[in-house]
């Protein structure tokens, strides 16, 4: 693979420009030699013209590249570039003239070769000055691009290109066609010179500088133009006319006209410059206000920007900002150029004024607008009160003070209102954002709680081949207060427990975990059913809140003799399907909920009973969430529906019965989300 060296356009065109110029010089000097020695050198003038055009194009190529490459294209450096080029060209030419003055009447002064050499230098410098300035002007003209301006410029560039070749057409004579071309190009140049939109963006100081630079450009440009016309008048010395070129002359006029326009417009813009700067500052402040909504930034920073922006917009001499806080009353947030004493004096005067007190009591904060007041105070004679309205309530006020009477005009009040609204939006967004982040965190925490609570319920339910078992639990909120568990006491004896904490949600969930702890400890002691409830009551009484209680049912199943011992502590009765009777009934055992009687009295209120079971019998343990679930008509699911469902589906497996129950519950309430309590169930079927 042959690796091509990357072509550096800038360097290449620079090199080409020099070569073309040298060629041009050589050709012209050769022709001169021929003319002096009466020899026909045989070089047609077209040859020179082609080189001249080539020179224009290479110089254009070089500058177009060099200027556009320079990213730091602020206006001043652009103008400075043109000015410095112009001054450099003028200085060189002045030196040449000085040189000739010093030579005086010596023979060297009449040397045609030397004169021609300088003529070519002058041509090159003028070309460089004009083309580079034209490209700089292009940048200025196209600063605020519109389709129209771009088109105008392209037309002008095209016309200039034509003008380069015009020389072939009129053979370098000064005729009407030349004037015609010149008029058209100058007209286009004048139209383009109307694009001076960059000037207002200069600061006051920059305007002065640009005036100076433009003056230099005008000066050096005029001088070069004058010199060019001098050369034209002394045409006999030079065998070829390089400078009376339509391209150069019209470019000359364009550069000078644009520089003159810029100079005058800048000059007349000087007095209004401060207004534009003020507006620009306001726009920037506005942007700062709207950007200061980052969650890590505090409200104070927004308000800080607000007070500074408002002060600069109104040329205020002093200002302060107060916020209403629920806990501490009014609180000072910011003050500028004012002490506490003066502030209190002013506050008193403000509250004494009728307009201000009316303003204070306005019921609809959205209607509040800034209030300008005249004050009878030795220092500050006018003030402006601006409300800070966030989320339809006044959170505070900003007070601007001025030392002159009626110091706030309509424009100031308008812009200040806008600032304040923007700041209020920023504050509001900031608050909402923080709230959203907070909520997000709570949601995350709840998800963790949900996961932890899920793990409190058993995954595997203890049983043997004598019975099948399954269970289900669903919380109304992320976490709930329902609980079930199983435990194997020995080979044939199993404990089943179901429990329900009063209430739901987070508090219920905490009590549920306490319940699990207590039940798990007691279960291992192998107590009787009522004794279990006694101890559970005494333990739970110590940790439950006063108005909370727990209901629970316990079953101690003995599969060897087909009996179970059952106690119920305020829990919804358990349904038992008895195959022999071919019907289902709720088990009748009395018992008080846990945590209701928090003393030894409890044992009088709980009883236990022994039941026997046969193969095919079913136990359905559940919580009140199922029977109390309501449909749209406010009817409860109720015990009877549970009973009839078990009677219908008694032949199915526990898992299938559970599914049937949950499905019909959902059908009843019309949607899963409609049940506003935790609900759980456990199905046991004896084999």
């Amino acid at each position: 693979m042959i690796k091509l060296p990357s072509i550096h356009i800038g360097k290449l065109s620079f090199l080409l420009a020099i070569l073309v110029w040298l060629a041009l010089l050589f050709v012209d000097l050769t022709r001169l030699f021929g003319a002096i020695n009466d020899l026909n050198s045989g070089i047609a003038p077209e040859f020179t013209w082609i080189l001249e055009i080539l020179f224009f194009i290479t110089v254009y190529g070089f500058y177009n590249y060099a200027i556009n490459k320079d990213a730091r294209n602020d206006f001043l450096s652009l103008i400075w570039r043109a000015a410095s080029t112009g001054m450099f060209a003028s200085a060189i030419f002045l030196l040449v003239q000085l040189f000739y003055i010093l030579l005086g009447e010596s023979r060297l002064a009449d040397e045609p070769f030397l004169r021609n050499f300088f003529y070519h230098v002058h041509f090159a410098l003028v070309t460089i000055f004009l083309i580079s300035s034209a490209i700089l002007w292009k940048n200025l003209i196209l600063y605020q691009k519109s389709k129209q301006v771009v088109k105008q410029w392209q037309t002008y560039e095209f016309a200039l290109l034509l003008a380069m070749f015009f020389i072939f057409f009129n053979k370098n004579t000064f005729d009407y066609s030349f004037i015609f071309g010149l008029v058209i190009l100058t007209g286009l140049g004048i139209v383009l010179s109307g694009n001076l939109k960059w000037i207002p963006y200069l600061t006051f100081k920059e305007k002065w500088k640009s005036l100076l630079f433009l003056f230099f450009i005008l000066l050096s440009g005029s001088y070069l133009f004058y010199q060019t016309s001098q050369f034209s008048n002394a045409q006999q010395t030079y065998p070829i006319n390089l400078l009376d070129n339509l391209f150069l002359i019209s470019l000359f006029l364009f550069i000078l006209i644009y520089a003159l326009f810029s100079f005058l417009v800048t000059l007349f813009n000087l007095p209004t410059s401060s207004v534009f700067e003020q507006k620009l500052t306001e726009a920037i402040n506005f942007q700062r206000l709207s950007q200061s909504i980052q969650p890590e930034e505090s409200e104070e920073q927004v308000l800080d920007i607000l007070i500074d922006s408002c002060m600069s917009a109104a040329y205020a001499d002093a200002a302060w900002m107060e916020m209403h806080r629920l806990e501490t009353g009014t609180e000072l947030i910011q003050e500028r150029w004012i002490n506490e004493e003066t502030r209190n004096e002013l506050s008193e005067k403000i509250s004494g004024m009728k307009a201000a007190s009316q303003w204070e009591t306005e019921t609809k904060p959205d209607n509040l607008s800034p209030l300008a007041l005249r004050l009878d105070h030795p220092k500050f004679e006018s003030i402006l009160i601006i409300p800070l309205v966030v989320n339809k309530s006044v959170i505070g006020r900003l007070v601007l003070c001025k030392e002159v009477k009626d110091g706030f005009n309509k424009e100031m009040i308008n812009i200040i209102s806008t600032f304040t609204r923007q700041a209020s939006i920023a504050v509001e967004n900031h608050r909402l954002l923080n709230q959203a982040i907070q909520n997000e965190r709570y949601q995350e925490e709840l998800k963790i709680a949900q996961r932890v609570q899920k793990s409190l319920l058993p995954v595997k339910l203890d049983h043997n081949e004598s019975f099948e078992i399954c269970a289900y639990s669903n919380a109304a909120d992320e976490v709930g207060g329902d609980y079930y568990d199983t435990f194997q006491l020995d080979e044939n004896r199993f404990v089943l427990i179901i429990g329900d904490v009063s209430g739901k949600g987070t508090s219920a969930a905490f009590h549920m975990s306490q319940m699990k702890g207590i039940f798990q400890s007691l279960i291992q002691l192998d107590l009787g059913a009522s004794e279990f409830m006694n101890r559970a009551n005494s333990a739970l009484s110590r940790c439950l809140e006063r108005n909370h209680f727990i209901t629970a049912s316990i079953f101690i199943i003995d599969t060897s003799n087909h009996t179970f011992l059952h106690a119920r502590a305020g829990h919804v009765p358990t349904l038992m399907w008895e195959k022999s009777k071919n019907k289902a009934d709720f088990l009748g055992v009395d018992g008080l909920g846990l945590g209701i009687l928090r003393n030894m009295q409890y044992e009088k209120h709980v009883e236990e009973k022994v039941f026997s079971f046969e193969s095919g019998d079913i136990l359905l343990l559940f919580t009140d969430g199922i029977v109390e679930a309501k449909n749209q008509k406010s009817q409860q699911f109720g015990f009877e529906r549970v009973r009839s469902l078990v009677e219908v589906y008694h032949h199915l497996s526990p898992r299938e019965i559970q599914t049937k129950l949950i499905d019909s519950l959902h059908d009843f309430v019309e949607g899963d989300g409609m049940i506003d309590d935790d609900y759980s169930l456990m199905v046991v079927k004896f084999n």
């Binding site: 009063s502 209430g503 739901k504 108005n547 209680f549 305020g570 009687l597 209120h605 409860q636």
Partner: protein, 111 residues
């Protein structure tokens, strides 16, 4: 929806509950009972004839006054409960701790 009205009849304070008591409004019931007790009521009769539903949170309110009232000698009775609501009291076993009567007269006669 829950509305609670109280009025005095002789030495008795009648607390009339209309609507449903659940977790969201049980505080209202709590406040009503507390204000009666704080005002020195010795006999509180709860009229449950228009009580349509009571959740465990509502039961928790009645439950939380049991011991306090016993100590202070305040009697709390409930009468005219709808059978379904009475069932809820009964399942929890509260019917053993709170006197519940079919009618207002029976509640007043019982000492």
């Amino acid at each position: 929806m829950l509305s609670i009205h109280t009025h005095e009849e002789h030495t008795h304070h009648i607390l009339r509950i209309q609507g449903e008591i659940d977790a969201s409004n049980s505080v209202q019931l709590d406040e009503s009972i507390r204000s009666l007790a704080d005002n020195g009521a010795k006999s509180i009769l709860v009229d449950g004839s228009d009580l349509e539903y009571i959740s465990s949170a509502g039961l928790g309110v009645f439950m939380s006054y049991l011991e306090d009232f016993q100590e202070q000698g305040v009697s709390l009775k409930i009468f005219a409960l709808d059978p379904k609501v009475f069932e809820v009291f009964k399942i929890l076993g509260l019917d053993q701790l709170i006197s519940i009567f079919p009618t207002k007269e029976e509640a007043i006669q019982e000492v």
